[in-house]
Subunit: 460 residues, 2 copies
């Protein structure tokens, strides 16, 4: 339900953040849209924040008047997180793009929330370092923290929850607070860092992050291999994880995903169910890991091993994998994707993937499956014509059915995309009313007027 | 301030948890004492819970009457966490000791909160698995989660925050709720799992845990080497971490700690600043890691490498290291320890350790330093005669001075022991009033009557 802006609010806003406000139609459009199939909802205004002080000023005013504030990075969320469904201000933090500190001796970097992943890694590389979390999109670090992002390297290096050491954030009432330190361990009071990571802009606005970074490994090597069936590839990936091989990435693509990637990125991969691997370590460590993996994978019918040991072919391979999402969209021009995000305990993964195939085979939409199988997490892209409401509805129904079955398998409705708008009912189903009440109590304690990204995570 | 029990409360308690109550003096004593130097405070009663239902019954009644409830495992906390400073019920969960599920295919175990670390690992070993978090003490998993414990293997496998996938917990009002799943990734709503881990029994009572477990590595190998100075050993450890060698443990003991360990555990280690290492992996991986480590350590003057490749000598070595705390106490019969727990960014570790030496050298107490240096975390044992209030006060003053200097270095007042009673002022100093207000808002939202372990974490 859209809240009307109080009279004179925009004038007051112009006073507190002069020169930062946009009401241009194209900007409102851009800030009312994400990568999901949720329909665009326009904000009343966009504020381009340049500092924590700007964020404080906007929140103070908005809280006083009960106006919603929706933090916005680059709009790459996949569940409608940034859509201002109750109206209000889209608070764009992408201009807060300063890398404040790189501390190689501490393996730490401090950044403003609007810094994007790719430029951060370009800067870190000058010191032989990298930031490990890699969701594919060149998202802002603030956005990645807010959705609790993870990605292809999570199996080895963890997700945002594991790699954010501390935060500067602003409460709904405009109070600034800091969490965590640059120490690698901290047991001082409630873990507010991890409470904010994954809270999707509903508890506070993140303005700065202290990140854990890693040294670039001496050797990185990638490999692909193909399987006769989807199930065989999934089983092979699970066996590799269980073996304890410290694989750095382990990604699965079905034949349709490989076909789309070939078209989009100009690769010439064999069109078959495929595992992509990456190994990090010393020369001999990587050689050992690769060989052990090859032996396991062959037991499951894997064949056609191709190694990409030189840096260029390794990068090309992973670039192709990371473009699987736009590649899928491009395979049906004009389409949008309803994207699923199931994660299950490892032993249930084959069953979960089979269930997905069974459900989607009946749908009127094109679809493909890919995922971070070593973490038990996979995605389906259900490609829909956004004008065809019957098709869109069918895709949403199919996605919901998969979610219900995944929850029944002891899994989660979202491994990494978050709840946003699209998974609120699923969250209730998954965690139960008692847990929802705890979440609601936390939300009300930190945002009593309900101005922070209202309508997300929890049903109104 | 002790709250008087309402009239007839114990009779009501006997009705809701018949046969579970103890008022025996020795039990009250045991439940009013931990491993710290904080003086004993007796609870009004002890309840030996056997099930989540018992916990629910106690909390419902206590919340109705505003009676404090303090969860108790084995009493191995080091900052007075379990002391019932406002009176009330010590809720002993050590009888909830069932290992509910071991799922080797999912690398998951589900346990009641009273299960202890050593019996859990004995059970897991039958399936070739282990639980990695190892604080030394044979604590309950519920207690380890509540204090956000970590330990010698955290550098490789993470702390409780990283290895608890989900919880069953009971709110102050007796409502049961569940967090997380057995999937390895979960982005569904607020991360209540990590909010409860480290909350020291002040937000809810944990009754069950879903834990991430690991396969026992093919090869484990340990080594010790000695250094001419404390500083050299610390610098060497930091260099090993920065090199990216996936060392499984890396522990530092000063000469006094080694001497105490030799006396207590019958080892014959050279009495000098010493690093203990452990490497996990394949045969060749461990050989590579060990050799790379030896080369780095020798650059810093490390010598006298001794390898413990067979299982018995490896176990003996780590058994000796794990007994460093009782060994320190035994070196001064009748003493108690004021134990510090500083953690700093890696680059500040040499300065922090030097600062500790400088401060403690002036004290009237015996002391020694040891720690998880690869995580930037170290402890000092300040051994005091508990009858000598002058000495006890001097130790507390010295510990406080170190904490203040550690905070000034960008570190934390506690890397793994938690806040409890002893670090509440330090927490304010470290995180600031704004952050304390956020913590307080969360506490009041989940425990409005303030019955859950009152007086801990936050100052009244």
């Amino acid at each position: 339900m859209r809240r009307p802006l109080p009279d004179g609010f925009l004038d007051r806003l112009r006073e507190v953040v002069p020169g930062r406000i946009s009401l241009v139609e194209s900007e409102l459009q851009r800030h009312g849209t994400d990568e999901s199939s949720h329909p665009t909802v326009l904000p009343d205004a966009v504020v381009m924040a340049r500092s924590t002080d700007d964020v404080v000023a906007v929140l103070r005013l908005a809280n006083e008047h009960g106006v919603p504030v929706i933090p916005f990075g680059v709009g790459s969320s996949l569940e409608g997180h940034v859509l201002p469904v109750e109206g209000g201000i889209s608070l764009d933090i992408s201009g807060m793009d300063q890398i404040l500190e790189v501390r190689p001796d501490d393996l730490v970097a401090v950044v403003q929330a609007g810094v994007c992943r790719v430029p951060l890694n370009e800067r870190l590389a000058r010191d032989g370092l990298f930031f490990s979390v890699d969701p594919g999109a060149d998202a802002t670090l603030g956005g990645m923290a807010s959705t609790g992002a993870s990605g292809t390297t999570t199996v080895r290096y963890g997700s945002m929850r594991d790699n954010v050491l501390g935060l500067t954030a602003v409460r709904a009432d405009g109070t600034v607070f800091r969490t965590g330190t640059a120490a690698r361990k901290d047991s001082a009071g409630y873990d507010l860092t991890r409470l904010l990571v994954g809270s999707e802009g509903t508890l506070a606005v993140i303005t700065e992050l202290t990140l854990r970074v890693f040294g670039i490994p001496e050797r990185m090597s990638a490999a692909v291999c193909t399987f006769p069936t989807l199930a065989a590839g999934v089983e092979a990936a699970i066996a590799v994880v269980r073996s304890g091989i410290p694989v750095a990435r382990c990604e699965f693509l079905d034949a349709r995903s490989v076909e789309a990637v070939n078209h989009y990125s100009g690769t010439a991969l064999e069109v078959a169910p495929t595992l992509f691997f990456e190994f990090h370590g010393s020369d001999s460590g990587v050689a050992d890991q690769s060989e052990e993996t090859r032996l396991i994978v062959e037991e499951f019918g894997g064949s056609g091993f191709t190694w990409a040991t030189d840096e260029r072919s390794r990068r090309e391979l992973w670039h192709a994998r990371h473009n699987a999402y736009p590649a899928g969209l491009a395979s049906r021009p004009g389409s949008r994707s309803v994207t699923t995000d199931a994660a299950v305990p490892l032993s249930r993964l084959p069953e979960a993937v089979e269930t997905a195939e069974r459900i989607f085979s009946d749908g009127p939409f094109a679809w493909s499956i890919l995922g971070h199988v070593a973490d038990g997490n996979f995605h389906a892209l259900l490609l829909v014509d956004p004008e065809d409401t019957g098709m869109v509805d069918a895709a949403h129904r199919a996605a919901k059915q998969l979610t219900a079955e995944v929850i029944a398998l002891g899994g989660t409705c979202t491994g990494e995309h978050g709840i946003g708008l699209g998974k609120r009912e699923a969250l209730v189903e998954q965690v139960g009313a008692g847990t929802i009440e705890v979440m609601r109590a936390v939300k009300e304690a930190l945002d009593p007027r309900g101005i922070l990204n209202p309508g997300k995570v929890l049903l109104p």
